[in-house]
Subunit: 456 residues, 2 copies
Amino acid sequence: MKVAKFGGTSVASAEQIKKVAAIVADDSERKVIVVSAPGKRYSDDTKVTDLLIALGEAYLEKGEAEAELQAVVSRYEDIADGLDLGKEIVATIEADLRDRLTFDRNRPESLMDLIKASGEDNNAKLIADYFQRIGLNATYLNPQDAGLLVSDEPGNAQVLPETFEHLEKLRDSDEVIVFPGFFGYSKEGTLVTFPRGGSDITGSIVAAGTKADLYENFTDVDSVFAANPNVVDNPVKIKKMTYREMRELSYAGFSVFHDEALIPAFRNRIPVCVKNTNNPASTGTMIISEREYFLSPVIGIAADEGFATIYVRKYLMNREVGFGRKLLQILEDEGLSYEHMPSGIDDTSVIVRQHQLTAEIEERIIDRIQKELCVDDVYFEHDFSMVMIVGEGMHNTVGVSARATAALARASVNIEMINQGSSEVSLVLGVHAEDTDRAVRELYQEFFGGADESIE
Amino acid sequence: MKVAKFGGTSVASAEQIKKVAAIVADDSERKVIVVSAPGKRYSDDTKVTDLLIALGEAYLEKGEAEAELQAVVSRYEDIADGLDLGKEIVATIEADLRDRLTFDRNRPESLMDLIKASGEDNNAKLIADYFQRIGLNATYLNPQDAGLLVSDEPGNAQVLPETFEHLEKLRDSDEVIVFPGFFGYSKEGTLVTFPRGGSDITGSIVAAGTKADLYENFTDVDSVFAANPNVVDNPVKIKKMTYREMRELSYAGFSVFHDEALIPAFRNRIPVCVKNTNNPASTGTMIISEREYFLSPVIGIAADEGFATIYVRKYLMNREVGFGRKLLQILEDEGLSYEHMPSGIDDTSVIVRQHQLTAEIEERIIDRIQKELCVDDVYFEHDFSMVMIVGEGMHNTVGVSARATAALARASVNIEMINQGSSEVSLVLGVHAEDTDRAVRELYQEFFGGADESIE
């Protein structure tokens, strides 16, 4: 059986939900359908989740939010009209929303979670209603009834281990189950939402719990591309990639999934397929545990801006047991996470995401490094990009780094940093921010120039 | 004025000491001459320092060591005979040795230091005697009289800061000062020896204290070469290099100096010149603070074997503030120093010198990493080499890494690790041990093939 998750744009309108129904009807293996709240219908549209946040905030501030509530109801009304569902489902949704507002206002975070989650929850009820109306044997299932238990951290739910056992019984359902994404329930019965990427998390948990043969993730793109289409013209489509490749690429701006969303599927080795609701005939991109990589050692080129480096030099640094640890401790004390730490013999650089820094933080860090580590030199540099070449085959292919560095030399891009771990699933090249796009284009040309439309 | 230090082979015999005298006589700027103990005269000869260690150990064990003492006296006798110095100096040296043996046997480490240091001390007395005999205005100076004060750690003396002030007055001496290397005195008046490279340390301290215009270090090679002559045929000579380049090269097997020896010279920006006692006309290699690097961005290729890597993989590792610091803490708890820490997104490798490891240590480390860091995978790999390309010009030269990686691809050497810090004075390439020499030769060919006999 398959678990299929449909994202916000896939369920944003009646027209889109009809496509979803056709996709579900087309394959009887699609047994659990996880749905998001209605997303944007056009680029400057407002998502229902954002309407709900406005509703919750207004209500908490003023004690009423009738206009905001009507804006939400109106979105469902449009969808219900377009699907010829009549007024009953809309009345049910409006009553549900009013009921949520009666929750204890002394627990504002849980109240917000309850309101936000209504977007997915009511959309699932509406979609189940539509499925039934067109003759699909479908039913809405509430996460509480399914046993999707989570920790009681509003907006940051973590799934509890027993959930997976509870969900296993969904395998045996005769009906198509329509399941709302984004939230679960604490053991005490409080609704709690997941962090960012919430519906993807639900889909991944359900796929893992039901031991699905496939977790299909329907979005609005045909596949994952080997490079950012905003930088490279018509990049090739990736047919197959591994979890590790997906993760390395997503680090540097490939936003297919929120990374954490895939953990349950990943830990249970459930294959994931990214597909397009608007073009379901396209094969999409499979994300799997392992792949053959003879033909394509490199799977993608990604880049992300906004990095800074802390450069530290001290004569005989490498003799000093504990130096690197103390340096990282200073950053940790400031709450900074670091990305890489390339080093020579007597110098080392720590690369961090720049958004974590302020002039005061930098000053404090430099001051502590000077005083506590007695270094010869320490300074910050800003505005670097990390360009990543990712591929499972890199480890066993002589010359990938040679081709990469030659490409950057051709493009007159100075390499400020090279970091290749012993896993060699990725090669990270630090460049100045202004060189980023030139670097990505030249690397794409080197590794994918003349390739077919898609690679695997 | 110049401080000239002569190493063990330069003062191993009468013939060698005559060369030293000629060198000193040739330049009146050579005001302080730091000397080692007599070294090897031929490849399977025994250094006087090793004879002295045997003497000390035998004496501590048996309470007498007459045969060992005679072996030492005999070496000085040979030298004195060859220099026509007569019996008096040899009698003085023998009396001095017997006097040292009367030191408190309940302080065996200090007794050993006293015996070992006699090698340099008596050689300085002998050489000063010879200098006077041939008409040089020369005098022996004891480090205690000169004020060379050190910490009281037998075999591991650290210079005390006031030493540099004390030594400044040597600048004004009318006589050529012959100064024994390898030891100083604690504030309580105990003789203490320096760690490995001891006479180089003395020379560097004296050069810094006297604010010498040049610190000449006389050895038995014409210059520093751009690669190991045992691996590359007739490598080019390096005319000028910076302290940083010297340090990076010496990390990977370029054993010109023991690294720590140069610190005092380095901190005081005293230029250092490596010269050959057997060929003083050769210009040698200058080691300076800064150099022009337009013509030769790369100054040398070095390599060292015996590295192991600890590979660690954990999904979402890079989100975890403190992960790298905790990993290094575990190594630190085992007393391990690490060399590099290249990282991808969800994996990181820590490269350590293999000699620090045993099966038990590896097991404990893996166990702690698994339990405390909850990683997905952790293992050791052994027998890597670090190949280093060193040069001040690398930072500003596009394409050095491209040329390096292309060279290794040509030689079919797989690159296991690349580490280039933001300083870019070096590029470190991790390769399998068996590929080391092939990598060095191909890199030498790439960066020095067709070069003149020497570079600067």
